[in-house]
């Protein structure tokens, strides 16, 4: 396969994957079990989710390591197995991707505040992110993919930690805009771009988010702030609502495909889905903007 960074720079657009956690629950992940711990004993369902996305047209699948930092794994009693969990998840993703898709080493937020709001010092956060990223790099991921960030300082720490161990692998980052057009910590899309792009990330963007409109607005504002920036859009499948005791996200695959076209027009070079999105959403996105028509 072509080198990930050159594909990202030269196109065509890369279709990413959709939600992981909800798909795993459908595949048998017990209530309250951390996916990262579960996959150590149950790799097959995780491979199954990755495969479903690859078959739907994803050319970038993300490792099941959103909670793969020491702080998050601690809650599942797995903090001394950071390297093992991340390596295993990366190997599972690689196995599912084959030669059909790139593997993004997924890095999520710590789940705790940094100082001064919380107890974690900036330097400590950098080390925690570097520890996870290092394991993902060793397992051979194509990109270190940081997502769902809200705090600009934590985002910087994640980028710094990832870059410390990246060894030439690109680092990308997306934030979640869910509060009056900003992240819940008050970060504007413009600020995110102005602070994080100069650090040398290969792409920046928005994922999750309160609504498709808010993510769209964030992408538009990022594009306006830095027209040359390579952007990423991986929004939720709309808003959750309740149907017969089940939470359903209201955007259809066709809605997501329509949005995907708009994101590409705004400079997005990676497009996928977040909470509530399934392989059907990804298939529709791939048919709209992807290379691999399924």
């Amino acid at each position: 396969m072509e080198d990930f960074l050159s594909r990202l720079k030269n196109g065509p657009v890369i279709v990413a994957d959709g939600a992981m956690g909800t798909m795993l629950q459908a595949a048998g992940l017990p209530l309250g079990t951390s996916p990262e711990g579960w996959l150590l004993e149950n790799p097959d369902p995780v491979v199954g989710v990755h495969r479903a996305y690859v078959e739907a047209g994803s050319e970038l699948i993300l490792t099941c390591t959103f909670g793969g930092t020491r702080t998050r794994l601690e809650r599942a009693g797995l903090h001394d197995r950071v390297a093992e969990v991340n390596r295993q998840a990366a190997e599972i993703a690689r196995q599912a991707a084959g030669e059909q898709a790139y593997v993004g080493g997924d890095i999520g937020p710590l789940g705790e505040f940094l100082k001064p709001l919380g107890k974690i010092a900036y330097e400590e956060a950098v080390d925690i992110f570097a520890e996870q990223a290092g394991a993902l790099v060793q397992a051979g991921v194509d990109v270190l993919y940081i997502e769902t960030m809200s705090d600009l300082n934590e985002a910087r720490a994640a980028v710094e930690g990832a870059q410390r161990v990246a060894n030439g692998i690109p680092v990308t980052i997306t934030l979640s805009f869910d509060s009056h057009g900003r992240t819940n910590m008050g970060v504007k899309p413009e600020q995110a771009v102005e602070t994080l792009l100069p650090l040398g990330v290969s792409a920046i963007g928005a994922n999750c988010g309160a609504t498709l409109e808010m993510t769209h607005d964030a992408i538009a504002r990022m594009h306006e702030t830095a027209p040359e920036a390579i952007l990423i859009a991986k929004p939720n499948a709309g808003k959750p609502h309740l149907v017969e005791r089940q939470v359903i996200y209201d955007a259809t695959p066709a809605d997501m495909a329509e949005r995907a076209r708009e994101f590409v027009a705004l400079g997005a070079r990676i497009v996928g889905g977040c909470c509530g999105s399934t392989s059907e959403h990804i298939q529709a996105i791939a048919q709209a903007i992807g290379v691999k028509q399924t």
Partner: protein, 214 residues
Amino acid sequence: MSDILNQLHTAVVAGETDPARELAEQALRASIAPLTAIDEALNPAMEIVGGKYETGEYFIPDLVMAAEAMKAAMQVFEPALMARQEERQVLGTVVIGTVEGDIHEIGKSLVATMLSAAGFQVHDLGVDVPASRFVEQVRETGANVVGLSALLTTTMLGQEAVVEALQEAGLRDQVKVVIGGAPAGPEWAETIGADGYAENANEAVGVVKQLLGI
């Protein structure tokens, strides 16, 4: 209102911890009654902070810093209240936690912080809390409010389990149950027989007060 209380109010709204502490000390030295300071400066300041959060002028860091500033001032006032054999009015007793199987901490803690700043006595049970723990704590503390957080579509069912456990324990009528978390909503509250739903930490204060008729 005195100059000192005005400045204290401003310091809390701005989330300035050290000035808030110093101004609280100044207030005591100027013989301002601690309850007066709380009623005239601290409580209204937190209401303004909540309002700014609702309108998108303030975000989570502003809420947390303001609550910290309020706490710093309260730490000065509390010994003074004790010495005068007075107490800040306790609006109610809340048992709060993230339900079993769910380890999301931040949202729940913010709600706890804001309720505490508003004058509730808050017992925060942390995350991944089994229904039986909520029941025990309600029994032990005589709480009249239970706050249940769940951030996952699957763990939301844990909120229902707590409502049922409270029912079985014969404690359901003693408490108002308020739920929150990304996938939850007012319909879910209704479905599981909770009393209310709050979208965010500031709204939680309003919902709880309303349910208690405060």
